[in-house]
Amino acid sequence: MTTPRHMVELRDVCMQFEEKKVLDGVSFTVEPQERLVIMGQSGSGKSTILRLILGILRPASGSIFFKGLEVNRLPRRKLQRVRQHMGMVYQYSALLSSRNVRDNVALPLEELTDKSRAEIDKIVDEKLELVGMKDSKDLLPDELSGGMRKRVALARALVLEPELLLLDEPSAGLDPVIASVIDELIISLSEKSKVTSITVTHEMDSAFRIATRMAMLYQGKIIEEAEPEKLKQSKNPVVAQFLSGSTEGPILEGSLDAITKK
């Protein structure tokens, strides 16, 4: 057992899909009310970390703790209860396509609480208003843009008042204004409602706006972890290249040569 002081703790987590090793000894902790942003290349295993914390995937080795509970060893029933304290926003929203916006947001309340329809409607309205989607209650996910879907997904993740919010590319596909609104919302949730968040993103502006701490995932390992301002000064060539978006550096070594030769 870990000390419940940490909201989330990953200890030496390894994960591989068939032959490919995605995570190779990842360890970090997230404290309550913290906003951790995990950065890394596409396919580097960032989303896998979120799925491991949710207990959707089980690691090849290592341990994952949520408030002192070892998620990867919990039986199904307990895991389901633990998940009710987490809210997840998927990269492609993952809204139930056959249910309208209201029903999507109301789903966790209908299934997991004993609230009346009137109470559920009130909470749904409140959360949809928070993300600026109250007028689209009756629309189906197919009738929404990518950005709107993501906002509905965020509202759905918030209905059970989670302690931990897991966000997979929350700003991708949003216009800059709405992206800022979502970022502000994540910040205000942690400040006012004491929500802890782990965000996986490529959007550097958004990452620096949200983060109280940032971690860089590269080749299956967390190679640097620091406050945003410190990370900006990093001497690590991988971090420096990733933040600057330069093609020169260790990240594209090999593959860039191949592209140039073509």
């Binding site: 959707i56 009710q84 987490m86 997840m88 993952a94 809204l95 966790p108």
Partner: protein, 273 residues
């Protein structure tokens, strides 16, 4: 060298096939067990396993909407069966056996079997495609991530709907076939409706009806379980959904026929008369 290796390769192939077959059988079995487990866990906490609206939506789709198909196919088959057997029996002057023959054949065997095949194609395919699409678009994972049991939420209402509706549809099929044969008997073999009914009542035993109903329950459960299992184990995007849907229909039809044979073997062994 190739000749020396071929028996090994054949054995290897058989081993591989047997292993994947057993894996699938085990997969479906545990899938059913886990679904019931999730339902009972929920009920232990004093909550309904799923919303009544969800259950009735599936019974409407799987049951009520399938009535025309089951009724019509069985009606035509009843007509054909009565007509073809009637002409043969007429040669021996035993055409009064037609009502009993059609009634017993449908109640015990053809009703549940035909309905099973039709539902596997009509509803099993729909369940697999629906759940498969939800699986590839991460909807199932999102449900799981919310702390909702996907088996209880998605599979249980479908499984229960098909389980309970199959005997009803089999009965519709039986009635349609018997009605069709009564029309043929009246038109071609001069057997009046009241006499037809008497003949049916004389030949049909309660155990024929019970056998048919028990089979229907079993087929309903198997079709729903196979369809939902295939849907929730889809891999490989849109193409994967297509492959899983085809596989679901083929597996469900084969399983229904296989189980029907097994049921008959067991039944006739223990109740030979």
């Amino acid at each position: 060298m190739a000749n020396a290796q071929s028996p090994v390769l054949v054995a290897q192939g058989i081993g591989h096939l047997s292993r994947s077959f057993l894996r699938e059988v085990g997969g479906v079995f545990w899938f059913i067990v886990n679904t019931f487990e999730e339902m009972f866990e929920r009920m232990q906490r004093g909550r309904v396993p799923f919303h009544a609206a969800s259950f009735f939506r599936h019974t409407q789709r799987a049951g009520v909407d399938s009535v025309p198909l089951a009724g019509l196919v069985s009606f035509f088959l009843g007509l054909t069966m009565a007509l073809l057997t009637g002409y043969q029996l007429q040669r021996f002057g035993t055409e009064r056996l037609i009502p009993g023959l059609v009634a017993i054949a449908f109640t015990r065997e053809l009703g549940p079997l035909l309905t099973g095949i039709m539902l596997a194609a009509r509803i099993g395919a729909a369940f697999t495609a629906e759940l498969g699409t939800m699986q590839v678009s991460e909807e199932v994972e999102a449900i799981e991530a919310m702390g909702i049991g996907p088996l209880r939420f998605l599979v249980a209402p479908r499984m229960l709907a098909l389980f309970l509706l199959m005997p009803c549809l089999s009965t519709v099929s039986n009635i349609a076939a018997v009605f069709a044969s009564s029309l043929i008997c009246k038109a071609y073999f001069s057997i009046a409706f009241p006499y037809f009914l008497d003949l049916v009542k004389d030949s049909l035993l309660i155990r024929d009806i019970i056998t048919g109903i028990l089979k229907s329950f079993l087929f309903g459960l198997l079709i729903a379980a196979i369809a939902c299992y295939r849907g929730l184990t889809v891999k490989g995007g849109a193409a994967g959904v297509g492959t899983a849907t085809t596989s679901s229909v083929v597996t469900a039809i084969t399983t229904v026929i296989g189980f029907d044979t097994l049921y008959n073997v067991v039944y006739t062994t223990f109740y030979p008369t």
